[in-house]
């Protein structure tokens, strides 16, 4: 009975969790009644585990990422000329800095380019990374938004809304001051499990380009609301960070406003025409 091919296929699909509930029921009845089939199921499971072990041992490529980043940079026509040039080099420099673990100082070098949105992004990223290597990623530790928000008074000219997202799995951890574009700006620090999420709030930037990106495991998402620009930075996976940003924005917008405002990832009509 165990020899026929269809049974074996069903057994495989059963092991893979691909059978419909009815088929599962039928298969489990057969497994209970046929010891040989039961033994074969054990073997398929054992094989599956062994194959997974063998495949997991395949080494990853240490140089692939660098090569791809370099190549895509070259493949991008805009990066080879005009204002794309220095920005590309700047990004590459910071990338190298992050890889070398020297990024903490690396971002600060570009602070004087306060006119360039890219430089602001570097500063925001540097603030986040500095927070991670500091004993605490925040200057004031509090999960109470009514403590964190007033703490910014007198330290920065921006008084950020401090939404409470603890019930959604993103507890507030505290706040800190970062220097972006030569200005002191507030940063809210949230946690998600062991990940730290920095939300830095600065004055609205004049340029909407280059909104979100991921570098060496750190994702930066940017959006604007009113006359403020928000950056969310974290090593959280990009999807969860996007989810966090959506929640953050919906809480800021207030319960009455249910309209979903998409991130401005497409706001580069000018870029598209280049």
């Amino acid at each position: 009975m165990t020899g026929d091919r269809e049974t074996f296929l069903l057994l495989g699909a059963y092991t893979d969790g691909e059978l419909s509930p009815g088929e599962v029921l039928a298969m489990e009845r057969r497994l209970a009644a046929e010891p040989a089939l039961q033994a074969m199921a054990e073997r398929v499971r054992g094989l599956s585990a062994a194959v997974q072990g063998v495949l997991a041992d395949l080494p990853a490529s240490p140089i692939l990422r660098g090569r791809v980043v370099q190549r895509i940079g070259f493949a991008d026509p805009a990066s080879a000329r005009g204002m794309g040039g220095p920005r590309q080099r700047l990004a590459a420099t910071l990338l190298a800095g992050v890889v070398a673990g020297a990024s903490v100082g690396g971002g600060a070098v570009y602070l004087h380019r306060s006119d360039a949105p890219a430089a602001m992004r570097e500063a925001v990223l540097a603030g986040h990374l500095r927070g991670l290597v500091a004993p605490q990623p925040f200057d004031i530790a509090s999960s109470d938004r009514h403590v964190v928000k007033p703490w910014f008074n007198g330290r920065t000219t921006i008084a950020p809304e401090t939404p409470d997202l603890a019930d959604l799995g993103f507890p507030l951890a505290g706040g800190r001051i970062d220097i972006v574009g030569g200005r002191a700006v507030p940063t809210l620090v949230y946690r998600r499990d062991r990940h730290v999420i920095s939300v830095t709030i600065g004055p609205a930037a004049s340029d909407g380009a280059a909104v979100d990106e991921r570098r060496d495991g750190t994702t930066i998402l940017r959006w604007s609301l009113g006359d403020l620009t928000y950056w969310a930075v974290s090593d959280l996976n990009a999807r969860d960070l996007r989810g966090f940003v959506d929640l953050f924005r919906s809480r800021l917008a207030g319960p009455g406003d249910r309209s979903h405002v998409p991130l401005e990832r497409g706001r580069t009509a000018r870029g598209l025409g280049e």
Partner: protein
């Protein structure tokens, strides 16, 4: 097709390089060629990134890697693609007679942790014809569902199921024979 494309590429593709690489590695059989395939795949992904609507990014990218891998195989190992449908059914006889079960008290698969057996299994996977290998890798390493594997490899779900079954049958046969 500049800043936005690059940002999207960074967000969608760069985090998936490693898993794409594993697939390329299994298709080409070695690290250097896998890197070439991945570079090609990344260029293709980059060019296509603006036309990619929201959806299953993983399956989308793995499809691109897989197609780049096949293009590489066609150029460099045409036999691997053309004669791929043949799979010696080492396990078939054992299954038909039920012999493999009767002969070995403990299952060989459980004992595969032993080092030389893991090596044997690795070689047997390596030697699988490409369509069977990719189905197995997409299932066991990438953890894709049958539907996703069907999407990535461009075949019906039934074919995915039978390729997986054949690959496993074959591997069980190889391990059983080694035990004898």
């Amino acid at each position: 097709m500049t800043t936005a494309a690059r940002a999207r590429f960074s967000l969608l593709v760069l985090p998936r390089l490693d898993e794409g690489y594993r697939l390329a590695r299994c298709l080409t059989g070695n690290a250097t060629d896998a890197e070439d395939v991945m570079q090609e795949a990344c260029l293709r992904a980059y060019r296509a990134i603006e036309t990619f609507a929201e959806g299953n990014v993983r399956a989308w990218f793995l499809t691109i890697v897989r197609n780049a891998g096949y293009a590489w195989l066609q150029r460099n190992r045409p036999r691997a693609v053309i004669f791929a449908e043949d799979l010696e059914d080492g396990g078939r006889a054992a299954l038909d007679t039920g012999g493999a079960l009767a002969e070995t008290p403990e299952t060989p698969e459980a004992a595969v942790i032993a080092h030389d057996e893991a090596g044997r299994l690795a070689r047997a996977i390596e030697a699988l014809p490409v369509p069977f290998k990719e189905a197995l890798v997409l299932r066991e390493y990438h953890g894709l569902s049958y539907r996703e594997i069907a999407e990535v490899t461009g075949v019906p779900i039934g074919t995915v199921m039978s390729r997986l079954g054949r690959a496993r049958q074959h591997l069980i046969g190889v391990l059983s024979e080694a035990r004898r």
